[in-house]
Symmetry: C2
Subunit: 407 residues, 2 copies
């Protein structure tokens, strides 16, 4: 017991990094110091606030330019983007999709919307993403190849895709995962909801899989209020993503011809207007967030029993949410530490519950999840808003910390 971490001391270190922040520092809040009002006002003045309008397309071009993806298709949120990704690759009733147990529930829900079954996979301590070695070993055991298609020998169901999630903005190790996909004829989908601005071996997260999803929710690095996007380099999939997101309506002057079951998933122009102004500042946000991460890393360098989670070697991360990792022997202190941090006005939360611990995904097929289980007990997210750092090289930017935050 004498060896326990001193929770108040840890809270103090975090508070010192935040300097003289406000009484309550939220986990993440958006920064609106660019042309947000200008773009939104222009959108209102134009009268085009809904599913048609210039800003949706401007945002898409900005996303393409920034990420290097050939196509970006803006939609209402990250969940919708992921649902479209799965539909685009033909994931359907009774298929299995390999995906991390350690993720936000939307990943598993999107699989469910297709009538498919999440097949839960373990994570890697060093990346927080799917562990390629463990997955390779597991598939050797349970995967069966028939006529060039992979199936689960234990359930008899087809395994269609590997859905990778870039946890807290840190890219998963995609190269060995791509090799697995090739070997088992699986399609790679990237859930890059948290990873806008993160690079894997110099390439933007979300441009390596066949299709990928982004999120612009209020707590993300760039926000449109609610929003998301599908990224792909495939012209045909891009066309279909837009088609499916606009009720699968064929172009016609006045007739309503819809040629498949589509969705009302197109991002409204009003939200896209906000997104355009936000995208103009993305590089500034990343600079600030990386500076903040550096400060945390420095502050925790010599603290025993707890460490700051740093980006994998192959990556440049956006550090969407900063994370502290408790040593195994201190994992039992997670909840006390969360309580003390929050009580002292420092927005803090743990990772998500593992998918197999949620009622509706309890019976999903899964491999040994011991690393994910450890990570859930060990990781604590701490304040990560870009405006918590003042960048000297951008003296024009206001850096006051606003009190309202987004959960």
């Amino acid at each position: 017991m004498n060896n326990d971490l001193n929770e108040s001391k840890i809270a103090e270190i975090v508070r010192n990094v935040l300097n003289d922040g406000p009484d309550y520092v939220p986990l993440h809040e958006p920064s609106f110091h660019g042309r947000e009002w200008e773009c939104v006002k222009d959108c209102l003045d134009s009268g085009w606030v809904s599913s048609a309008g210039n800003y949706v397309e401007i945002l898409e071009r900005k996303l393409e330019e920034y990420t290097g993806a050939a196509h970006a298709i803006s939609v209402v949120n990250g969940t919708a983007a992921l649902h479209l990704c799965l539909r685009l690759l033909g994931v359907g009733m009774g298929d299995e999709v390999l995906m991390p147990a350690l993720t936000f529930v939307a990943t598993a829900n999107a699989v469910s919307y297709c009538g498919a079954i999440p097949h839960l996979v373990d994570s890697d301590r060093k990346t927080l993403g799917i562990c390629p070695e463990k997955l390779a070993d597991y598939l050797k055991e349970i995967a069966e190849m028939k006529r060039g298609a992979c199936s689960n020998s234990q359930t008899g169901r087809p395994i269609k895709a590997l859905l990778v999630m870039h946890t807290l903005g840190h890219p998963a190790d995609l190269e060995p995962l791509l090799e697995i996909c090739e070997k088992y004829e699986l399609l790679l989908i990237e859930d890059a909801a948290e990873a806008l601005g993160s690079l894997y071996q110099g390439k933007h997260a979300g441009t390596i899989g066949t299709v990928s999803s982004l999120s612009f929710n209020g707590n993300k690095i760039v926000t449109t209020g609610g929003g998301g996007a599908v990224l792909t380099n495939d012209d045909e999939l891009a066309y279909r993503a837009k088609h499916l997101s606009t009720t699968a309506k064929r172009p016609h002057v006045w007739e309503f011809i819809h040629d498949e079951i589509g969705y009302n998933y197109r991002m409204p122009n009003l939200n896209a207007a906000l997104g355009c102004a936000q995208m103009e500042q993305l590089d500034v946000f990343i600079d600030k967030k990386r500076k903040l991460a550096e400060k945390y890393k420095e502050a925790f360098r010599n603290v025993e029993g707890i460490s700051f989670f740093a980006e994998p070697e192959y990556a440049r991360s956006n550090y969407w949410l900063n994370a502290l990792v408790l040593d195994h022997k201190h994992a039992h202190q997670r909840d006390t530490l969360l309580e003390i941090l929050n009580r002292q006005g420092i927005g803090a939360r743990p990772l998500w519950k593992l998918m197999n611990e949620l009622e509706m995904y309890r019976s999903c097929p899964r491999m040994d999840l011991s690393v994910s289980e450890e990570l859930v007990q060990a990781v604590i997210n701490i304040p990560s808003s870009p405006d918590l750092v003042n960048i000297i090289s951008n003296p024009g930017l206001v850096t006051t910390i606003k009190t309202p935050g987004l959960g």
Copy 2:
């Protein structure tokens, strides 16, 4: 052939009603002459643009106050609202839902999202909504009651609900439809996407069914860019609607406990801010739209072969989209008339294709749809924006007609 309608003459009559409008008058465009800027700016300044924030709740209270529904739950769009309505009533895999063949595709899509099957029903010439008499006769033939539950004797599948749509803002005849629901133990859902501000026997459309959906798309009487709402008088269903629309997450300081498969359907605060300003003007919009309808009605009073569609006797309609109805013998002129109207700068379009004429709903069970078929050939929608009318009693309101419109 000599008896054919003179299309140019009809275009002239429409153009006269619109006075000296702009070169191109869209079918419907929003009116932003209230506190739109003020509310949206305040929302941006607060930093709360996403799924948490005051405006979402203010909008919900405004909707409750206006419609008289006990509960309104704001969501991303009308399709999401309808999907939730069906989920709330337990509509699931292999169920049939009675719904009009004459509707926008979102109605059928929402049924499909549940794994249920649209069972298509005919409409009434005088209401454009489901025909109670024809439905009663049809159910006598095909419905089978077993242990208090209705099933389709031809397919063996359960019939769970009757989904009514209030076409172009005109309420369907709900009283006899409710009787049918009672007799066959069906739940009544109102797709009131087009009917915000419309009354059925003095009660607001969307407050008579067990659950109902509204839409605030850019072309609706009130817009939030993209948005919708679920209305219900049932406390428990309201709680569940909100729960399902927010990823079914249970309240907890930091844990992510989701207790069923939920959705990312909550309306962003940014869109709700716009909606609040719009709701303040709803009565003005209705006044204007009813004045415009009155002018069309007057202009077409003595035109032979074509009539203006007026609200049913039991209703006060919002006249969302004004409609001309060609006499049967002139129905073959529909497309020429649409062409001439559009060519002359008058936004005009037909009703939707019937659901059974769309590839993916071709094999849905259906009754005789002869009236719906006639209506599709006979009806032409004409410009209906509120700002096409200047109301003298509101001299403060700007009434210039903006060129950009929403399709």
